[in-house]
């Protein structure tokens, strides 16, 4: 089992004690293989720090981050990432953006083109394969970013509020598309969001994070059967879980904003 494991992890930023910010404190989290895990929490709670640890873009001040039995020390292609701001390469076409990761490890041209074309098709952008990112809408850009991450066949997909910048209609279409692809690929997903509906709609398990310093304060298995579509968001089970998350987050948001 290659699970993602955060053991008693703390992350602090800043050099001097006085100005130090503690993003995460004594956080424990285990994400089993193939789980669609969602971390939901107030903004600035350290959700993204958590993701950066797994991506290998940052290291824990204390504690261990493991992928299977190996310590995560730097980024690697087995842990793909979809950032919030797309971060596409503006000088490459849609097709070439998706091929980027494959070109890095010298995959043959024919295989590279075929694999990339498949993922471009999976995200519904075949008609735009020769377009440049500047010609695409936000939703389309994010679909390219997802295809680019999947093309290198990572074992874990890390998604940092990937739909946060999209309008709500586009966002719900993207959520359904993501589930459709995930249903086929069955990769481990770690998805960060502050949107409770999004968390419940997508996740197998929703981890609720506290205000800074971030800890997991609730773990909620989402027993809504798959495949899911938008109608589940108004079902009784969904609403009940939503209320549970809202009540625990409510106090945390107050804390984060220093209201009470």
């Amino acid at each position: 089992m290659t699970e993602v494991r955060l053991e008693n992890v703390s992350v602090r930023f800043g050099e001097s004690k006085a100005t130090q910010i503690t993003a995460l404190e004594n956080l424990d989290l285990v994400i089993p293989e193939q789980q669609f895990a969602v971390i939901v929490g107030p903004s600035g709670c350290g959700k993204s720090s958590c993701l950066d640890l797994v991506a290998g873009l940052n290291r824990a001040t204390e504690g261990k981050t493991l992928f299977g039995d190996t310590l995560i020390e730097k980024p690697g292609p087995e842990r793909g990432m979809v950032p919030q701001n797309y971060s596409l390469f503006p000088w490459l076409t849609v097709q070439k953006n998706v091929e980027f990761g494959l070109a890095l490890n010298n995959t043959s041209k024919a295989e590279r083109e075929e694999r990339a074309a498949n993922y471009v098709e999976a995200v519904g952008l075949t008609k735009f394969r020769d377009s440049y990112p500047s010609q695409l809408s936000g939703g389309m850009k994010q679909r390219v970013a997802i295809a680019r991450a999947l093309a290198v066949d990572p074992e874990v997909l890390l998604m940092d509020e990937p739909f946060g910048a999209l309008d709500s209609q586009t966002r719900s279409v993207m959520q359904e598309l993501l589930l459709k692809i995930w249903q086929k690929e069955r990769k481990t997903v770690l998805f960060i969001t502050h949107d409770i509906d999004e968390a419940l709609f997508l996740g197998d398990v929703v981890y609720v994070m506290s205000a800074r310093p971030g800890r997991i304060i609730d773990t909620i298995p989402v027993n809504i059967k798959r495949p899911r579509d938008y109608t589940v968001t108004t079902s009784a089970g969904f609403v009940k879980l939503k209320r549970r998350i809202m009540s625990s987050l409510h106090d945390e948001v107050d804390k984060a904003l220093a209201i009470s």
């Binding site: 290998g56 873009l57 390469f89 980027f100 290198v152 990572p154």
Partner: protein, 269 residues
Amino acid sequence: MSTMSFLDRYLTPKLAIPRKTEFGAGILVSGTILACWAIATYTGFVTRDFLPAPSDVWNSFVEKVSNGSLQKHIGVSLTEIYLGFFLSSVIAIPIGIFMGGFKIVQAALEPVVNFMRYLPVTSLIPLLILWIGIGLEEKVAVIFLGTFFQQIVMVSDVARGVHADLFNVSYTLGATRGQIVSRVLVPATLSGVLDTLRVTMGWAWTFLVVAELVAASSGLGYMILQSMRGLDPAGIFVGIFVIGFLGLITDMAFKWIKRLVLPWEYVGK
């Protein structure tokens, strides 16, 4: 649109105007300047020993072309400027990219580069003449020193502006550090580097003419100086116009190159 008044249409900031009007406005202004010049000289309002008439400049131009002297001076100036500019760019671009991409390179080079950057290259001309004379090498050296440090600073700013997110996402796609430089940092700076070249090329022309005015035996700046000594303002004007047109052509060439190598910046436009 049709009901818009003249004021609404042309005095709203950033509002697009018809292409014809755009073209016409340019012609109108250049035409007016030319007309003022013609009227001032042909009516005798300004003496032609002071300001030559358009036809005087044209005659001087024809004479310089037919005796071959203009071509020779242009040839010399172009050789000097392209050689100096090319040498400077070839070295400054990679240094600038590394300076913007790596903190250690920046820390090491910044003091020297900034010192040299604020040193007017014109102040170095006497020293350069003492060291390497007044020939081609000296002009190339002036242009090189004048553009090199500016280019380094401008290119390093471009490279520093490349968003770290692009690097991070590339690492998660399996990029090595070498690949980050060759496949992300370098292509990401391309557009800004071309802009830098275009801007510094304009400065290079200035340095060239200054160097030729101070000491030279040929070149457009020398031609202008000779015309001054011969009390021939028409010859000076020929030199100025030729420099202006050569600059204009160079600038157009840069725009054309940019379209060619950066197709993604022009799609759908």
